[in-house]
């Protein structure tokens, strides 16, 4: 077994995902992995070496049958295993939604607690770069809107590791939304067997608050660094968990500056941003110095063209503009 706790390594996000699964599987025999090409660790290396380490009974290549694979995960979880179902792109997840949202998320409730579904779903989210509309989607909001699941959106290697270790200790379904854009981003990793995954302050600041998650946290932090050069100190809060949402953490963060920007990856209409913004607005109403702004993706299917795609997703610049807007806001 790998020593955990003390050592700090420098790993990519996806290596952390792999390490989390490896460490958890070494501790817990009931964990099995289900997914396409996972024995070979294709396509991103998230399961590299795990079949060799744990055998083909615990790392199961599935046919391209997202619906039955998800259902099989549900059944295996009901019957005492801890399956991890890998879905490489969010666009494929639609095929498994009946199983995930009608069954996994509801069986405990419908049975008044007799059934538990400790299923973990790992799903690649967001754009990978010119993969076009079907392969570049962010489904956090629809997942988080469904009662009965936890939905996590880690922002770096450490957070990815922690989210997966944490997910593999729950008794109910957890979806881990893995932002494809940061799969290759490196960061320090300290392995802990029992991490917590709450909202955390990623950066301190008193002039404005940015509420972010997933790849957005890094974008916000870099925007904050730029703003800091101009003397604007921005607090960045990494929400990590979209379901359950930590309403009081949002409240505290929003109230501490009274100027808030919510950063999301999906449509401004019915995406993640408006919910965070509404909560921040209501919770900080009496101290808000400006309306809570949301920076979202453009409401378009993802275009293939690199040139067009570059205009779709929030950037450091767009966060900077929004922060300046709330900071410079003057009520008339």
């Amino acid at each position: 077994m790998i020593a955990t706790g003390s050592l700090v390594e420098e790993v990519t996000f996806v290596e952390a995902v792999c390490a989390a699964q490896r460490d958890a599987m070494a501790e817990d025999d009931s964990i099995v992995l289900l997914g396409q090409d996972i024995v070979a660790g294709f396509p991103f290396g998230a399961t590299k070496g795990l079949a060799e380490a744990f055998g083909s009974d615990r790392v199961l290549n599935t046919p391209i049958s997202e619906s039955a694979t998800m259902g099989c995960g549900v059944g295996a979880a009901v019957a005492g295993l801890r399956p991890v179902v890998e879905v490489d792109f969010a666009g494929f997840l639609y095929l498994g939604l009946d199983q995930l949202l009608n069954n996994a998320a509801k069986m405990r409730y419908m049975s008044s607690g007799q059934i538990r579904v400790p299923l973990v779903v790992r799903v690649g989210q967001g754009p990978l770069g010119s993969f076009a509309a079907q392969h570049s989607q962010s489904l956090h909001a629809l997942l988080s809107a469904t009662p009965g699941m936890a939905v996590l959106a880690p922002s770096d290697a450490q957070s990815a590791y922690d989210c997966i270790r944490w997910a593999l200790k729950q008794q109910d379904p957890v979806v881990v939304c893995e932002d494809l854009r940061i799969y290759r981003a490196k960061g320090p990793l300290r392995r802990s067997a029992a991490p917590s995954v709450g909202a955390r302050q990623a950066r301190a600041g008193t002039d404005a608050t940015v509420l972010a998650y997933g790849a957005g946290t890094g974008i916000a932090a870099r925007a904050a660094d730029r703003l800091s050069r101009d003397g604007v100190e921005v607090q960045v809060v990494d929400l990590v968990s979209l379901a359950p949402l930590d309403v009081s953490a949002i409240a505290v963060a929003a109230r501490s500056t009274g100027r808030v920007v919510c950063l999301a990856d999906d449509s401004p209409f019915f995406g993640v941003g408006p919910t965070i913004a509404s909560i921040a607005t209501c919770e900080a109403w009496d101290v808000l110095a400006a309306p809570v702004l949301t920076v979202s993706a453009k409401p378009v299917p993802a275009p293939y063209s690199e040139r067009l795609e570059a205009q779709v997703y929030p950037t450091e610049q767009s966060v900077e503009v929004a922060v300046r807007q709330v900071v410079d806001w003057v009520e008339d």
């Binding site: 099995v32 009974d57 615990r58 199961l60 599935t62 046919p63 049958s65 619906s67 039955a68 694979t69 998800m70 259902g71 099989c72 995960g73 549900v74 059944g75 295996a76 979880a77 009901v78 019957a79 005492g80 295993l81 399956p83 009946d98 199983q99 009608n102 069954n103 069986m107 405990r108 409730y109 419908m110 049975s111 008044s112 607690g113 007799q114 059934i115 009662p147 009965g148 699941m149 936890a150 729950q170 008794q171 109910d172 379904p173 359950p244």
Partner: protein
């Protein structure tokens, strides 16, 4: 365990057991149907009157370690598995002492202690869950088989074939039971299903198939034993049981008129599974009457119990969601 079908017909304990199970299902659903009409039950109910032999025969052949999953028409499966009719009726009446605490209802019956893992109301949706339960059983070396029930309407949901494929690939201990009651709501099988049917389809996905007279409980039981035995050894199968629902699709629907004629219903009623068993097993009218009275009393008592039981309290609304 190796008795022939003829041997089974001579086993009067078995016949009495199966008879009682079928009679209990029949009476339960007759009462439930009435209770719906009288307003004790809300939402909807789907009764399986006419199909009792499939539930009794298939489930009669299972062991305690085996698991069952079912669909919207699942009262009979629950009863055959021994779910107490009190808690079942209480569930239909939305009581907190119901088998699902009043939060599931007729379409979502669970009794984990009896390995009755639930009934899913989305047609076909239970099928891959069974593959997963079987996978867990296989990997844990538990020896249990999972049996999943679905209708002729479900055989055109793609996930069913994805599941057959997984079962075949991974040699899963699972039996897929298609209760072919000739219709999916108003759709006769011939209008929904191209080709020779689900049994042939199963074969094309590399798993075993059985077609059985679903009105003859001993034949169902016999087939079930074989299918379950094979499944336990990693040879999954489909059992297609040919049967019929006497009543309309769900509460309030007419039994005939719109999409089938009265004569057809009458003809099937001539092949009533309860009567067929009585005849085949040579059950005396007295013995039959005795059972009928006993189950009727049981169901009456269950309904009285359910009527008097408490509805779920407010905290139940937020209980058992997550964490």
């Amino acid at each position: 365990m190796t008795a022939t079908l003829d041997g089974l017909r001579a086993d009067s304990d078995l016949a009495l057991d199966l008879y009682e199970t079928m009679a209990l299902i029949r009476r339960f659903e007759e009462f439930a149907y009435r209770a719906y009409e009288e307003g004790d039950i809300s939402g909807t109910v789907h009764v399986s009157i006419g199909q009792e032999a499939v539930a009794a025969g298939m489930i009669g052949a299972l062991e305690d370690r085996d698991k069952i999953i079912s669909h919207h028409r699942g009262h009979g499966h629950a009863i055959a598995r021994g779910v107490p009719v009190e808690s079942l009726m209480a569930e239909l009446c939305g009581r907190s002492s119901g088998s699902s605490g009043g939060k599931g209802g007729s379409m979502h019956i669970t009794d984990i202690e009896r390995g009755f893992l639930g009934t899913m109301a989305v047609v076909g949706s239970a099928v891959p869950i069974a593959a997963g339960v079987a996978l867990a059983s296989k990997l844990k070396g538990a020896g249990g088989v999972c049996v999943v029930f679905f209708g002729d309407g479900a055989v055109n949901q793609g996930v069913v074939y994805e599941s057959f494929n997984l079962a075949g690939l991974w040699s899963l201990p699972v039996v897929f039971v298609c209760e072919n009651n000739s219709y999916a709501i108003t759709m006769p099988v011939a209008e929904s299903t191209a080709g020779p049917g689900v049994a042939a389809r199963a074969r094309a996905f590399g798993i075993r198939d059985y077609v059985v007279d679903g009105q003859d409980v001993l034949e169902v039981y016999d087939t079930a034993r074989r299918a379950v035995e094979h499944a336990r050894r990693g040879e999954p199968s489909v059992v297609e049981a040919l049967t019929y629902r006497y009543m309309g699709h769900s509460r309030g629907d007419p039994p005939h008129g719109l999409y089938r004629v009265k004569e057809e219903v009458e003809a099937w009623r001539q092949r009533d599974p309860i009567a067929i068993l009585a005849a085949r097993a040579g059950l005396s009218p007295a013995a039959a009457d005795e059972i009928t009275e006993r189950v009727e009393a049981k169901v009456e008592q269950a309904l009285a119990y359910a009527r008097g039981a408490a509805e779920p309290g407010d905290p139940a609304l937020y209980r058992d969601i997550w964490g």
